[in-house]
Symmetry: C2
DNA sequence: AGTCATACTGGAAGCGCTTGCATTCAATCA
DNA sequence: TGATTGAATGCAAGCGCTTCCAGTATGACT
């Protein structure tokens, strides 16, 4: 039904340039010795014929596909689609394609991705974004014989890049403590939500460390559990604000989406931010500005870029992948020194 | 550096099953005649050896890559990543890969995607999500010799699927008019924002039609311009709410994100929804429930699924693509009959 | 002048599949 | 019963590149 319009082959380019296809290949790919004059002739021929290499033929012959696989969970979550944008941008600039594997909750589909999709040798490397991998999955990835990099979380067996997940919440909590808050609450994830690799635990840990460093008992901190989304944060905050006796002047949320949920809940309940409660999040969400949210920005787009650069380097046999990612506190209007005002 | 772990070839499977590689290929792909007994032998051999077809070799030999290209703009926008999820889900289930081309504002990158990426013959079909294509791009897509489907917008030259973009806003406005509102405002896009193919104009048109049908003059409707995002809607609403003399009891926003921005602005300004102003959006945003937003749901995930099914059908030579997509009004708490209360 | 390294180029062998064609064999039919 | 048909299978020719190897030419060096 769809016949490919006259597709130009390397042979035609070679003929037009008056060289062999071997030389044409070398000229176009930049590998091997080709005289400048020949190279130009070939390039011109290719240009004028509109030649584009066939990825299938090239892959088959060279064993390289010029494509990177990206496995990511829920694309609705801002963090993940941000990382994906960053990866996509860098790969496109490098002339690589991006094969997306959206790993959903369907266990069968998920299994199939690890079993078959990745093995088709369509990709030269894999970036795993914030997935909690079980042992079998880790093994599958490892046995691929391809560079793999896990972004977010540090599975023992695979090279990873991650922010210091304790560091971010520690920084967030320290910010509040420095401002003078002494009674601060925490809203974070639960182990049951394993979309993030151990992230919930790590983040809570960081919070605790900061609190303890100020001689306080983390157990005294009112805590809520949510799933890293806006509605999740909203619900948790409503509950927290409504808990009798659980007063606090500051609140750390383990993600900006939760923090935004908190701010919405506060608005609904008439709790004033930051007069009655200061709120800090983690991520650097694009809506942070709109809400005046103080946050620990982890530059997700940059993380995507970095991961992509890294994997591209590894495809060429450089580096090994483990590294730390930067983050920084961005202070906006959702935090202030605790006022003399009655806490909520 | 990374040697591929013992990759199993079709020949090995064939040998293990005691047949020729031709038969093994037919057995595995399901094409051609193979006796049930042979088929089973081959399947078992493949299974036990962990054989997975090489996509490059298969593509080269058959001309089919079992991959679909998806071109999408800004992944942050909820609508786009929803559609993408839907596409991904359907493709994965069908055993297809998804090659993502995130089309950004960088004109050079964008050009390159159309010029080279799509021509590498890595994909069997292309789904274009809500991109305003210029003539050259349309032509490139058309000359690919591949099934292409444009989701959202209807470029003359390419088959497309779209909701009735006039219909959605007409429905939204009719909802308000039916409730008794007679002074309703509109927040929509601008031609300058061409991420959506003609969508801004179409949606405004639909709104006007509804208003006119009630004997009102669309020119009397207070209107704001925004870029389909939450902050955009927020800014436009602040302006609209602050315009002297521009009173209205209902507001139609051309996207849910804008509508959410409107609600946030209203909250900040103390404008009560729906008591003073009723708000309707378009999309079916996942946060609609949280905000109690009345909306015209266009089921973006479903759209993605439908588009994917369609393109898969076209790859197999069926159908031609043009079709309408369903949408429906979802009434929540952001709309009500105009109260006796003073409008904002 | 002779040797050797080096730059450039072409021939040709695959890469791992799919598929057209030929072959075999058993079932069907007049 | 011989001719016909069709299912089942194998052979082998590619698909369009990359790259090893060999060959030639050119320049450098002793």
């Amino acid at each position: 039904m769809y016949e490919r319009g006259a597709v130009v082959s390397l042979d035609e380019v070679a003929r037009a340039a008056g060289v062999s296809s071997a030389t044409a290949s070398r000229a176009l790919s930049g590998r091997g010795h080709v005289s400048p004059a020949t190279r130009q002739k070939v390039n011109e021929a290719a240009e004028s014929l509109g030649y584009v290499v066939s990825s299938a033929a090239s892959s088959l012959a060279s064993g390289r596909s010029r494509s990177i696989g990206v496995m990511a969970p829920d694309l609705h979550r801002w963090f993940f689609n941000s990382v994906l944008s960053g990866i996509s941008d860098t790969l496109t600039r490098a002339g690589y394609d991006l094969t997306l594997y959206n790993v959903t909750n369907d266990p069968q589909l998920r299994r199939e991705i690890f079993r078959a999709f990745l093995r088709r040798r369509r990709v030269d490397g894999v970036i795993v974004v914030a997935l909690e991998l079980d042992e079998w999955e880790t093994e599958q990835l490892g046995s691929l014989g391809l560079p793999v990099i896990v972004l977010g979380g540090r599975p023992r067996a695979l090279p990873g890049m991650a922010i210091d997940d304790q560091g971010v919440t520690r920084l967030a909590a320290e910010h509040l403590l420095t401002l003078g808050h002494r009674k601060i609450g925490y809203i974070g994830g639960d182990h049951a939500f394993d979309v993030d690799y151990h992230v919930p635990t790590q983040r809570r840990e960081g919070f605790d460390q900061a609190v303890e460093a100020y001689g306080l008992d983390p157990a005294d901190s009112p805590a809520g559990v949510a799933d890293f989304t806006i509605p999740g944060g909203y619900r948790a905050a409503k509950q927290l604000f409504g808990t009798p006796g659980a007063s606090f002047t500051g609140l750390v949320a383990a993600s900006d989406e939760m923090a935004i949920g908190v701010m919405l809940a506060a608005k609904d309940l008439g709790v004033q931010i930051p007069q009655q409660v200061s709120v800090v999040g983690v991520d650097g969400h694009e809506l942070g500005g709109l809400f005046g949210l103080t946050t620990v920005d982890q530059h997700p787009v940059g993380q995507g870029r970095t991961a992509a650069e890294h994997i591209l380097g590894r495809v060429d046999g450089q580096g090994n992948g483990d590294s730390d990612l930067p983050f920084e506190l961005v202070v906006r209007s959702s935090t202030a020194a605790p006022a003399e005002v009655e806490p909520f």
